[in-house]
Every structure is written in structure tokens, then in C-alpha cells.
């Protein structure tokens, strides 16, 4: 032991030193191994953690990275889905975030031989933020990414995937967040992403994962696959697309989508279903192309759909591309668009204005569509002239007659002045109407000629106006002078002590009355369209504003012309008896056409608003009449009373007038609020009732027009007669009474099995507006006959039974 101890103390030390010296490399090796192992372990911990790290929960969303399949085959690709489940009120961003914000950024850490593609963005939604707008996703954002695996990837070797994602999540304010996601996929020979492999993603059942992938894929916009044009020269930018592509109809090889030869034999009647698309929104790919928050409007013209976009800050220098999202009854469709910048002519109804497109003769562009300006002006003048003869002007006839009678005994200069004032009245009103119409159009509203009568408020106010004028003519009221004092004009002239020249003041007032008469005549006549007029206005509205206004004013000129002429050459009026008490009687008599007009307008109103609106309007008229009576009483007897009483009664009178106007104005809200459905139903019911009535009486039964009905009937091979009408269009009603419901016509329709479709434009109906514009028209009436296998034929705006029968006889139309 001691020896050993001794030995140990000596040789033991030596031995130890020896072994230590001998073993040093070994120890170092051990140490190195440990360190390396620890480092590798640490590194692999950091880089390739368990698959459960594929979910990140933040304060505002839960983010998940899901592989479609756990097992992949080398050389194949597997889709990954980065899902954000957002808390209510929070949103993340699309590739163009809009006015602010930032799209998510992904940084991949992938082994060699594996690479990730870009995000395949689902179509975004527009998220309004005050006056600004963002493009992004609320509730759930699905980011699809394809992962490509090299064919050389060794089978069986795991594929570690690491994703660092940064995203901005915003509600009122914005929070930048980030997350790290790790996945390990297995490479497997012969096992691609087929359904045979169990693709269980962490935390998800197959069903949910599959549903999410399906949802993500469905939301990725499809390539549009047809040429798209963008005119970015002006404001708005105009994006023009072939309608057939949008509506999902098959595009015939010879449809004018590509610049190809026209082939007459292969034309099919294309049907317009603009209402099939409920909403259309374009999302620009890059900032600067469009104002993100601005409203977008679209219209359908022939084969083309045009979207008006407010230009952004740099519209000309960014790529003209983006995503178009269409919401239809069937769901949402989205396309990737890449437009060709090009100066585009305005979408006239003529298809040949579009480069590369061949005109389709008379099919969508009516025969009136290709008018030049001079011809349009001529048509407008003739139309204006004809307007005087149209039934819709009957109510004004009374006023006109009064005007002529008033002029008796005036000097030529005074008569000329009178005629001029009348013409100015007409022109000013037409100018205002045209300006309003063009303004609304420019703002993107799809309104047409006569649009003002589609507003129940306007109709109610007109009813009130005609009631007041009627009361005034009948002598029940004494109105002051001024625009409203049309009856007063005559009174002023004729109440003079003799037939000698009236004094200056009276002349001025009479002239003012003439102006008012003109404006009123135009007011009543304007909603109607006469022969020539439809074509002229249809043309005008596709033109720049000055040309359009010129056409509309020429129309007014045409309307004013006969009366102005009579003012200058009053040979005819000389035959009228000399002024006397008969004039007072005539005036009273002429009140009746005005009352009739009121009655008619009230009938129109029932079509628009139903019984409630009628009741409200009648109350409004009652209050109006009461107010006027009260004011009249104060005017006549007021001098006998105390000043406060006089003032109080006058105030009450004015308050009544105001009340009447307020009641009428509330019709707008009535429609919006409660009759939005019932009015529509009411209208539908009215049509049905009319149809039943007609059937009962053995006259022409009709069906309400809809693009789908027309479509179906034509597809069935039926001839169709389309009648576009409105309750406020007297010409339409007269045509229906005279020509369309006659026994002979009804019989001819029945014999030929012609479907009679009636489109009611009494209230605004964009479907019908679009149909009208297809024929280069902008107002009713419009009669189109679709003979079997032949092109549709537009009938004149004044129908006779003979005309209708003749149209039915056209080749291909019906019995033979």
C-alpha cells in the first residue's frame, strides 16, 4: 500500500501525466463532439422545430401555415397556405394595399433544392377608411404559395421549411406583427400529393384543410383571356372589356373580340344581362393608377363593357393591370386583367368605332346609331316640330291657345317679343334638362330621356303645379304675376280699359308669362319622344357635351318654331273672334286639360309609389290648395284686418305651401324606406293585372320584359315583340290603345305565336335603360320586333295597326 502509495505518488503522477498527454486528443475529441452536438442541437432547435410551430397567435389574428400534403414527391410541387384568421374589425392587405398599409412580406429559409413561389393573392375587398380606401382582407386572409421540390431531392429525407412573415394588421390604427412558422415535410418516392397520402396538417382535420385550399384557389383571379383596352388620357380613365367574356357566354370565333373578319352567317343574337352582374370593381395592381376610394361606374354598350375609373396620381406611369371582381347572383368571379393603353373613341352605339371590332349590322346598334351631327341636328329639329303634334303635348295645348289669344291686338314688335320669349322659355328648359341629364350621365348615373318623371317627387310637384295652374285658369285663384302667373298674363292684357296698346309694365309681364308658357310646354313635352327624336337624342348622348347640348337645344328650337312663327304671322289668330267675355269662359274651359294632366300624373304616381304615395300626394295637394286659398283671401280682404292677423294668416298660408312641398319631397324617402319592395311588387302587380285584364278582354296578353325572358324565348325559337313603355309616356299609352290592343293585331300575334314583352320604364330600371341604349335610344317608346331567324326590326314611334301588321309580315316572321 505504501509501496503502492509511493509508487503512486511518483509513478502514478507520471502515469497520469502520460495518460493525460496520451489522451489529450481523445479528450479534446470528446469535448468537441459535445460542443458540436450541442451546437447542432441548438441550431436544429432553432431552425427545425416541431411542426406544432406552424401557428402564431397575436393580439389581432391567428396565423397558420398549412401544407396541402405532408408527403411530397421529389420533382413535384406542394401548395402551402398561410392563413390569417382576423379578429372582427381588423384587416390585412392585398399586394396593392390601397391608400395606406402594407402587404405581408414572406422570407423563406429553405434547403437547397426547394424553392417557394410568390403569393397567389386571392381577390381583395375594398375597405373604406374615412375618405380613403384600402385593399385587403377582413375575417380571413388566405395566401397560397407553391413550394417546388427538386427532382434530385433524396427520397425519405425530411424537407425543413421555415417562414418568417411580417405583416401589418390594422383597424383604426396599425400594428406591425411578425411570426415564424416551421414545417417539416417528407419526401417520398412514388407518393405525390395524391389523395392516397394522408395529408394531415397540424391541428387541422383533412376536411378543414381541404376546404381552405379549395376556398383559396377559388378566390385566386383567373386570367381574363381576352383583350382589354384602357384609355388613360382623360378623367375618368376608361377600361373597356368584351362583355361576352365577362358574362361567361361562349365567345364565338367570329365575335368581334379579336380583329377578325366578320361572318354574317355566324352571328348569334347576343343577349344583354347587365343585371346579372350586381357589382363590378376594379382593383389596380399598383398605387397611382386609380383613386382607390373613388366610386367606379360601368355601362354596357353593345358588345363592350366600359368601366369609368378616377385616375390616381400617376395613371400613365404604372402598369395598366389589376383584378376585376364581379359579384353576380351566382357568386363572385375575379379575373386578372392586363390592359393595353390606347386612346379610345367614345363608345358610340356603333361598334365599328372600336379598333379591330367589326360592326354587327343592326344587331345591337339600332339603325339610328350611326347618325352624323348634321343629320342628328336635322332630326332633332324635325323631332321638335313633331313633338307639337304628339299626344303628350295635349295638356299644354290649353296654355298655348291662351298665349295665342292673348296676343291679339298687339303690334308686330310686341308679338315678335312674345314669340321670342316663348321660344326662350322652351330653350331654357331644354337647356336645363339637357344639362341635368348630361351632368348625371357624366357622374355615371344611367339615366335616360324622361328621367325626371321617374322620380315620384318630380311627378308629385308637377301634379301640384298643374293643379295650381288649373285653379288659376278656372278663376278659383288669383295668382300674382310672374312665372306662375300664366293665366295672369292674359288677364293683364285683356283687363285693359280698351284694346289699345297695353302699357310697358303689362307688356313685360306678358312677355314673362310667355316665357313661362314656353318653359311649361317644354316641361310637359320633354319626357315624350317623337319620331326622329329618339334617334337624335340617342346620338346626342354618346357625343361630347357641346354636341349633345346642341342637339337638345335644336330639339327645343323645333318645338318652339311653329308657335314663334304664328306669333309673327298671326293670320290664323285673326280668325279668332274679338276679345270679349268669351275669353274668360275659354280660360275656364282650358283649366280642364290641366286638371286632366294632374289626374294623369296622380295615376303615374300610383304606379310608382302605390296607394301610400298617392295618399301622401293628395294630402300635399290639399294643403297646397288650402295655402293658396288662404293667401288669396289675405290678398283680397287683408286690408280690412289688423296687421298681426294679416301677417299670421299670410304666414300660415306660406307654411301650408311649404308643407305641401315637404310632403311631396318625402315621397323620395317613402320609396327608399318601405315601398322599395312594395312599389316594385305594386308595379309587377299592375302589369299582371293589366295582363289579366287584357286577357279577359281578349286583347293582346303581355309578359313583363326581362333580358332572361327575351333570351329564353329567342332560344326557343319564338318571335318576340318588345314594347318599352312608361306610365308617364302618353305617346306610349296612345300607341298601346290604338295599335297594339286592336283585335286584328292581337289576332296576328296569336296566329304567329309572337311573345309580347312589355318593359315598364315608369320607374328607373337599368335593365331597360341598357336595352334602350343598345338600340341607340334613350327614351320610350321603343318597339322592337324579333322575327324568327332574322334581325330585330325597330318600329316607328307612332304606331298604327297597319304598321304593326306589316312588321309581323316580314320575311322569316311567323306563320310561314
Amino acid at each position: 500500500m505504501t509501496v503502492f502509495d509511493k509508487g503512486w505518488t511518483l509513478s502514478g503522477w507520471r502515469r497520469t501525466a502520460f495518460w493525460v498527454r496520451r489522451g489529450l486528443p481523445f479528450w479534446l475529441l470528446i469535448l468537441f463532439w459535445f460542443i458540436t452536438a450541442a451546437a447542432v442541437a441548438a441550431a436544429s432547435d432553432a431552425e427545425f422545430p416541431e411542426a406544432s410551430d406552424a401557428e402564431v397567435v397575436t393580439d389581432h389574428l391567428t396565423a397558420r401555415l398549412i401544407p396541402e400534403f405532408q408527403h411530397v414527391m421529389p420533382g413535384d410541387r406542394v401548395d402551402l397556405l398561410l392563413v390569417f384568421d382576423l379578429q372582427p374589425g381588423w384587416h390585412t392587405y392585398w399586394r396593392n394595399p390601397g391608400d395606406s398599409g402594407e402587404p405581408p412580406r414572406l422570407t423563406w429559409t429553405l434547403p437547397d433544392g426547394v424553392r417557394a413561389g410568390p403569393i397567389r393573392w386571392p381577390y381583395p375587398e375594398r375597405i373604406p377608411v374615412g375618405p380613403l380606401a384600402n385593399y385587403g382582407y377582413s375575417e380571413q386572409a388566405l395566401h397560397l404559395i407553391a413550394l417546388h421540390i427538386d427532382p434530385d431531392w433524396p427520397a425519405g429525407q425530411p424537407i425543413p421549411i421555415l417562414l418568417d412573415a411580417n405583416w401589418l394588421v390594422c383597424a383604426e390604427h396599425c400594428i406591425p406583427e411578425s411570426g415564424r412558422f416551421a414545417l417539416t415535410l417528407t419526401a417520398q418516392l412514388g407518393a405525390s400529393g395524391g389523395g392516397a397520402v394522408s395529408g394531415d396538417a397540424e391541428g387541422l382535420g383533412d376536411a378543414e384543410a381541404n376546404a381552405l385550399f379549395a376556398q383559396a384557389r377559388a378566390a385566386v383571379p383567373q386570367p381574363f383571356g381576352a383583350p382589354v383596352l384602357l384609355d388613360r388620357d382623360g378623367s375618368p380613365l376608361r377600361l373597356r372589356l368584351p362583355w361576352a367574356k365577362l358574362s361567361g357566354q361562349p365567345i364565338e370565333p367570329n365575335e368581334p373580340i379579336e380583329p377578325v373578319e366578320s361572318n354574317q352567317s355566324n352571328q348569334s343574337v347576343q343577349l344583354k344581362q347587365p343585371d346579372a352582374i350586381k357589382q363590378l370593381e376594379f382593383f389596380a395592381d399598383e398605387w397611382g393608377m386609380i383613386e382607390h376610394a373613388a366610386a367606379q361606374t360601368w355601362q354596357l354598350r353593345g358588345d363592350w363593357l366600359e368601366l369609368a375609373l378616377s385616375p390616381g396620381a400617376t395613371p400613365a406611369s404604372v402598369a395598366p393591370s389589376g383584378v376585376l371582381v364581379a359579384t353576380t347572383a351566382d357568386g363572385v368571379r375575379a379575373w386578372e386583367l392586363s390592359a393595353t393603353p390606347q386612346s379610345l373613341p367614345p363608345l358610340a352605339a356603333s361598334a365599328d368605332a372600336i379598333p379591330g371590332a367589326m360592326p354587327k349590322a343592326g344587331q345591337h346598334s339600332g339603325p339610328d346609331a350611326t347618325l352624323g351631327l348634321p343629320l342628328a341636328l336635322l332630326f332633332a329639329f324635325l323631332g321638335g316640330l313633331a313633338l307639337n303634334l304628339m299626344p303628350c303635348v295635349f295638356p299644354v295645348l290649353a296654355i298655348k291657345l291662351m298665349g295665342l289669344a292673348e296676343q291679339r291686338g298687339l303690334a308686330l314688335a310686341a308679338r315678335a317679343w312674345h314669340g321670342l320669349m316663348y321660344s326662350s322659355g322652351v330653350l331654357v328648359f331644354f337647356g336645363l334638362l339637357g344639362g341635368g341629364l348630361l351632368g348625371l350621365r357624366a357622374a355615371g348615373a344611367a339615366v335616360g330621356w324622361g328621367f325626371q318623371l321617374q322620380s315620384p317627387v318630380f311627378v308629385a310637384l308637377m301634379a301640384g303645379l298643374f293643379l295650381v295652374l288649373g285653379l288659376s285658369l278656372s278663376g278659383a285663384l288669383t295668382l300674382g304675376s310672374g312665372l306662375m302667373g300664366l293665366g295672369a298674363g292674359g288677364r293683364l292684357l285683356n283687363a285693359g280699359p280698351n284694346t289699345g296698346p297695353p302699357d310697358r309694365v303689362r307688356l313685360d309681364r306678358a312677355a314673362l308669362a310667355a316665357f313661362g308658357t314656353g318653359a311649361l310646354a317644354a316641361l310637359v313635352a320633354a319626357p315624350c319622344t317623337a319620331p326622329f327624336m329618339g334617334a337624335a337624342i340617342g346620338y346626342a348622348l354618346t357625343q361630347p357635351w357641346f354636341a349633345a347640348l346642341a342637339v337638345i337645344l335644336t330639339l327645343g328650337l323645333g318645338m318652339a318654331f311653329p308657335f314663334a312663327l304664328l306669333s309673327l304671322f298671326p293670320a290664323w289668330t285673326r280668325r279668332l273672334p274679338r276679345p270679349g267675355p268669351w275669353m274668360e269662359r275659354l280660360k275656364q274651359l282650358l283649366a280642364f286639360p290641366l286638371f286632366a294632366t294632374t289626374a294623369w300624373l296622380l295615376w303615374v304616381l300610383t304606379q310608382q309609389t302605390g296607394p301610400n304615395g298617392l295618399a301622401q300626394t293628395l294630402i300635399s295637394l290639399l294643403v297646397l290648395a288650402f295655402g293658396l286659398w288662404l293667401l288669396d283671401v289675405v290678398r283680397q280682404d287683408g286690408h280690412r284686418w289688423q296687421r298681426p292677423a294679416r301677417l299670421g294668416l299670410r304666414l300660415l298660408g306660406f307654411a301650408s305651401l311649404l308643407m305641401a312641398i315637404v310632403l311631396a319631397a318625402q315621397l323620395g324617402t317613402l320609396i327608399d324606406a318601405d315601398t322599395s319592395t312594395s312599389a316594385g311588387d305594386g308595379r309587377q302587380q299592375a302589369i299582371q293585372q293589366a295582363t289579366q285584364q287584357a286577357q279577359a278582354q281578349g286583347v293582346l296578353p303581355s309578359m313583363p320584359y326581362s333580358a332572361a325572358t327575351l333570351d329564353a324565348a329567342l332560344a326557343e325559337g319564338r318571335s318576340v315583340f318588345v314594347n318599352m313603355t312608361a306610365a308617364w309616356c302618353i305617346t306610349c299609352l296612345v300607341n298601346e290603345r290604338v295599335a297594339l290592343t286592336s283585335d286584328r293585331v292581337a289576332q296576328a300575334f296569336a296566329e304567329r305565336d309572337v311573345l309580347y314583352l312589355k318593359g315598364d320604364w315608369t320607374n328607373h330600371d337599368s335593365d331597360i335603360s341598357a336595352y334602350l341604349s343598345d338600340f341607340g335610344r334613350d327614351g320610350v317608346p321603343l318597339y322592337v320586333y324579333y322575327p324568327l331567324g332574322a334581325e330585330p326590326q325597330v318600329l316607328p314611334q307612332l304606331l298604327t295597326p297597319g304598321l304593326v301588321l306589316e312588321a309581323l309580315e316580314t320575311p322569316g316572321g311567323g306563320s310561314n
Binding site: D99, S100, G101, E102, R105, V129, G130, P131, L132, N134, N166, L168, C170, E172, H173, C174, I175, P176, S235, K278, E286, W287, G288, E291, A293, A294, A295, T297, S310, A313, T314, L440, A442, A443, G444, A445, A446, V447, F451, Q454, S455, V457, G668, I671, D672, S676, T677, A679, G680, N763, H764, D765, S766
Partner: protein, 205 residues
């Protein structure tokens, strides 16, 4: 659907849309006179475009809580630009358009406190509570920068740089449009990129 088809509603909405787009269309154009404004600063003094005649001016829209603004203030990038502008005799105005009650809205005292604590160097901080000035300029984000030349012509509008992120690390290596514009102005050149995409949080009008 029926409701949307009603003419009055349509007309009303369209008019609103028209007014709204007019409002936006009235947003400034580079090369055109800058929109006028009349806004008080934190000292209660009124600033108008006329005040700025004869000086180059930079307008900086801000919201101190916005991560994108913080990126440029925390890194002192914004302060650097403000000092640089001051050295070159350029008037730097910081504008706060957050409406009262909205995020980013501050009292004059808070605004001054922010300026002091961040060692920022604007000539003044304008309090555009009504959002009128922001609306006139079409300012949409924080930060959003505008430059006006001594004649009152708008010469720049857009972002602070070309890296639209809230990550401080992205400041290095970014093309800073304000630096670039100041350099080009000093050299008497026209600005090479007068319009860029602004990025950041939306202004809480």
C-alpha cells in the same frame, strides 16, 4: 337591389360620388399651384400658403403612434431630414390631421411635447383638426410628404423613401426621396421623381 335602383337614391348617391370624386380630383398636381390652406400651429398662429412664398417648403403629415412614423422618428431619420432642411433654408412643417377623438389627435401642448422629446426640428406643427388641409392635399398616409417651391408650385408628393415597411432596418439602403429632392434642388435641377407612392398608416380624418 330595388333600393339601389331607385332613381333618387341613385342620383343622390351619384351626386355624392361626383362631389366626392371632385374633392379627390381637386387633389393637388405636381407642377400646379399647391392647394391653399389656413391652419393654426401649436402656438395658435395661422399659417397660409402666402406665408411660405419665397421659401421652399416641406409638409410632413404625421401621427406619432403610427408604426411607420415611429420607424423614421425612432431611428432619427426624420429628425435628420428636418435638420438638413433647416440648414438648406427649407421650411419644414409637420401637419397632424387626426380628427378630435381619433387616434393620433393631440393637443397643442402634447404636440410641442412630442417635438421636444423627439428632438424634432419642424418650423411649426400645424393642427389640422378639421382635415381640410389634409383633404386639399389629398394626404392619405402618415408619413406623407409634399414639397412646395418658392413660387407656391407643388413639386413633390409621395413617400419618404422607397421601402414601404415599418422596419427600421429598411432605412439603410432605401432611396430617400426627401434627401434626393433636397440634393437636386441644391443643384438647381428639376426633381427626378416628383410623385411617389406614400406609405404608412391611413390618416384618421
Amino acid at each position: 337591389m330595388q333600393q339601389a335602383q331607385h332613381p333618387l337614391l341613385t342620383i343622390g348617391l351619384t351626386l355624392c360620388a361626383a362631389l366626392f370624386s371632385l374633392n379627390l380630383a381637386a387633389a393637388p398636381e405636381v407642377g400646379a399651384p399647391a392647394p391653399d390652406f389656413s391652419v393654426i400651429d401649436t402656438k395658435g398662429e395661422v399659417w397660409t400658403l402666402d406665408h411660405l412664398k419665397g421659401k421652399t417648403t416641406i409638409l410632413e403629415w404625421t401621427n406619432h403612434d403610427c408604426p411607420y412614423v415611429r420607424k423614421h422618428y425612432d431611428s432619427r431619420n426624420m429628425q435628420r431630414l428636418q435638420h438638413k432642411a433647416a440648414e438648406e433654408g427649407v421650411v419644414w412643417l409637420t401637419v397632424i390631421s387626426s380628427a378630435p377623438g381619433k387616434q393620433g389627435h393631440v393637443s397643442p401642448e402634447q404636440a410641442d411635447e412630442l417635438t421636444a422629446s423627439r428632438e424634432a426640428a419642424p418650423v411649426a406643427v400645424l393642427l389640422d383638426e378639421s382635415g381640410e388641409m389634409g383633404g386639399a392635399y389629398g394626404a392619405s398616409t402618415t408619413p406623407h410628404l409634399f414639397m412646395i417651391d418658392p413660387e407656391g408650385t407643388l413639386i413633390y408628393m409621395g413617400g419618404i423613401d422607397d421601402r414601404p415597411t415599418s422596419d427600421v432596418a429598411d432605412i439603410d439602403g432605401a432611396t430617400n426621396y426627401v434627401d434626393q429632392a433636397l440634393a437636386e434642388l441644391a443643384a438647381g435641377e428639376a426633381l427626378s421623381t416628383p410623385v411617389t407612392r406614400p406609405y404608412g398608416c391611413s390618416i384618421k380624418y
